[in-house]
């Protein structure tokens, strides 16, 4: 049977975050935590593969203990097992340190429940917003890598091949590769189902498997958390709401207005940048 691992992250819904205009800091209070929605599309695709071919689905996350809530949500949707990797020492991780811990986690998941054939990640997170963790995991585990997947055309467990559509800026790439493979999910991939009643009952009783650094005897502490993160946030700022000395253009006729506007545009440095002159 196929074994599918889905990486999910609990994130603050950054669309709801506002900036305090007086202090220029983020107002996080009252901002709901959600499962990063791209990750839910990854889980949904895993569930569809399970419906079609039969599969075992393990959901993993690295995060603080409250992330348990998100794991339970995944269980209610139909995941078989959920793993929370949590430890103070993991805090402050950037994408490099995160992919290290998640790769270690997936290896341990494989020891427990058998080798993974497909790993799903989201296209990117709402908070980190990098899309780098997926390729990072693929690189560390030497998996084939299919990013920006908007459609899974076919999964063939016998031939061990998958065919997908990657949605790129200029079109759709139809690509096929072998398992084990890591796929990053777009929202176009599917419509996420609702939890079933039995699913909700199971989730209510379910206790996620929890691992800390102590459960990873060979983990290198220099590669985790803040210490293992090469990138450093040196400074944050709120871009100034642009104060624009706007200019009103008026005239007696539409032609006069048009003539004045285009004259201004053609005199500005735009004209050269856009190759008008």
């Amino acid at each position: 049977m196929l074994h599918i691992v889905v990486c999910i992250k609990q994130v603050p819904d950054s669309r709801e975050i506002r900036i305090d205009p007086n202090t220029n800091t983020l107002i996080r209070q009252g901002v709901p935590s959600i499962v990063n929605f791209y990750d839910l599309h990854g889980l949904e695709e895993a569930l569809r593969i399970k419906d079609q071919h039969g599969a075992r689905i393990t959901v993993v996350t690295m995060g603080p203990p409250p992330a348990e809530k998100s794991l339970k949500e995944c269980i209610s949707l139909g995941a078989d097992e959920a793993v929370l990797v949590t430890d103070r020492k993991f805090a402050g991780a950037d994408t490099l340190a995160t992919s290290y811990v998640l790769a270690k986690t997936i290896q341990k998941v494989e020891q427990e429940w058998g080798p993974a054939d497909i790993v799903f990640c989201g296209k990117q997170t709402l908070d980190g917003d990098t899309g780098q963790v997926g390729p990072g995991i693929a690189c560390r585990l030497n998996l084939e890598q299919l990013t920006y997947v908007g459609k899974v055309v076919r999964v063939d467990p016998e031939a061990r091949r998958v065919r997908v559509h990657r949605y790129l800026e200029d079109g759709i790439e139809v690509v096929e590769t072998s398992m084990p493979v890591l796929i990053t999910a777009l929202k176009e991939l599917n419509e996420v189902r609702r939890a079933s009643l039995p699913g909700m009952i199971r989730a209510a009783r379910y206790k996620p498997v929890t691992w800390t650094t102590a459960d990873f005897p060979d983990i290198e502490v220099s590669k985790i958390g803040l210490k293992g993160s090469p990138t450093i946030v040196a400074k944050t700022w709120v871009p100034e709401a642009r104060k624009i000395e706007g200019e009103m253009i008026s005239g007696d006729t539409p032609e006069q207005i048009a003539e004045q506007l285009t004259a201004k545009l053609w005199e500005s440095d735009l004209a050269e940048k856009l190759g008008w002159i």
Binding site: P135, E169, T231, V233, K235
Partner: protein, 355 residues
């Protein structure tokens, strides 16, 4: 992204020098972002007093190596082969990685495109080093620190953050399309082109690109330099033709507010704003758009904004560089005519006298 550490000593990185830009292409046509990155890279290289290098990978892409020189590269590494026609993670990352390990650039830049992110994510992990995603501002501290100051939007564009990578080299970043300025193409520019080998053969590559379905019909708002956007003031689907004519005359694309998309006047792919695209074109026309914050978060970083609205109190005027109070149905066609006249005058300077 980690918080700043204190008291850290920077290792000796004196054997890492130069700026490397990955040139992205499909079927021998380069993505604009590649030349924009060479423009950004040139500024960094000049400030550090090092050379600007480029990497071109593909099948029959020698002409792009020359183009990279015209756009500012001093030295271009060229890797060609039929098995490199389409981008695939394994061979492309192997080639790029090998080159980085050999030439040791201090900075590597990739487009923040699907391909650029796919490739950079794999390479940064392998090296390993820090990778800053989706940057919109790039600068360097001068010698001796030579640190890349890579700044990017965070929290749905509400904040900016400057990211450093002190303990690892090279310093890597992906950068957004349409943000940085390409240098003017100079076909007289001289540069060195160095051929490198592809270490992988077809039978070592599991991934097969079966087909590429080009989407010419689709709009590409994110890359557009000029956007002519319409709102509920248009009153229906028909007037979007008028906007399309202005967009065609300017060489731009048509955008829309959510009100129009919800009303079914135009497809969602045209929508600008919080639940649509975030754009930063050089020129943005907001026509019959009131300027609700959910719309303006997606377009307020446009270089020049022109607003046309019959309501003088419409909030859009607060962020517009040029405001026109009036009826869009008469003003837009007049602008289109004027634009056509001016552009015709460029092609044929005498046309202005005959018009």
């Amino acid at each position: 992204m980690a918080r700043e550490r204190t008291n850290d000593q920077m290792p000796d990185w004196s054997n890492y020098r130069g700026v490397l830009v990955f040139v992205e292409q499909r079927n021998g046509i380069a993505k604009n972002v590649s030349w924009q990155l060479l423009g950004a890279g040139k500024k960094l290289a000049d400030k550090l007093d090092v050379s600007l290098m480029a990497l071109v990978v593909g099948d029959q892409v020698e002409h792009l190596a020359r183009e990279a020189v015209y756009y500012g590269a001093d030295k271009v590494f060229l890797c060609e082969g039929p098995e490199l026609k389409d981008y695939r993670t394994r061979p492309y990352s192997r080639i790029t990685l090998k080159l980085i390990e050999e030439i040791k650039p201090e900075i590597c830049l990739f487009g923040a495109t699907a391909t650029g992110r796919d490739l950079a994510g794999a390479i940064a992990t392998h090296l390993p080093t820090g990778l800053t995603a989706d940057t919109t501002e790039l600068d360097v501290e001068p010698h001796p620190s030579r640190l890349l100051l890579a700044s990017r939007p965070a929290f749905s564009e509400k904040m900016m953050a400057t990211i450093l990578c002190k303990q690892y080299r090279p310093q890597m970043a992906t950068a957004r399309a349409g943000v940085f300025q390409a240098l003017p193409r100079d076909p007289g520019r001289q540069g060195e082109i160095v051929r490198i080998d592809n270490p992988m053969s077809e039978d070592q590559i599991a991934a097969k690109v079966v087909e590429f379905i080009e989407q010419r019909g689709g709009v590409n708002l994110e890359d557009a330099e000029i956007i002519v956007a319409g709102g509920r003031g248009l009153g229906g689907p028909e007037p979007f033709k008028m906007l399309q004519e202005l967009a065609d005359a300017l060489g731009g694309v048509v955008g829309a507010s959510r009100a129009c998309v919800d009303a079914g006047w135009i497809k969602h792919e045209h929508q600008v704003g919080q639940t649509g695209c975030t754009v930063r074109p050089k020129l943005y026309f907001a026509i019959g758009i009131s300027g609700a914050v959910q719309h303006t978060v997606g377009m307020s970083n446009s270089e020049v904004i022109v607003a046309i609205n019959k309501d003088p109190n419409a909030p859009i005027f607060q962020i517009a560089h040029y405001g026109i109070v009036g009826d869009l149905f008469t003003i837009v066609p007049a602008i289109t005519r004027e634009v056509k006249k001016r552009r015709a005058a460029k092609l044929d300077p005498t046309a202005a006298f005959r018009a």
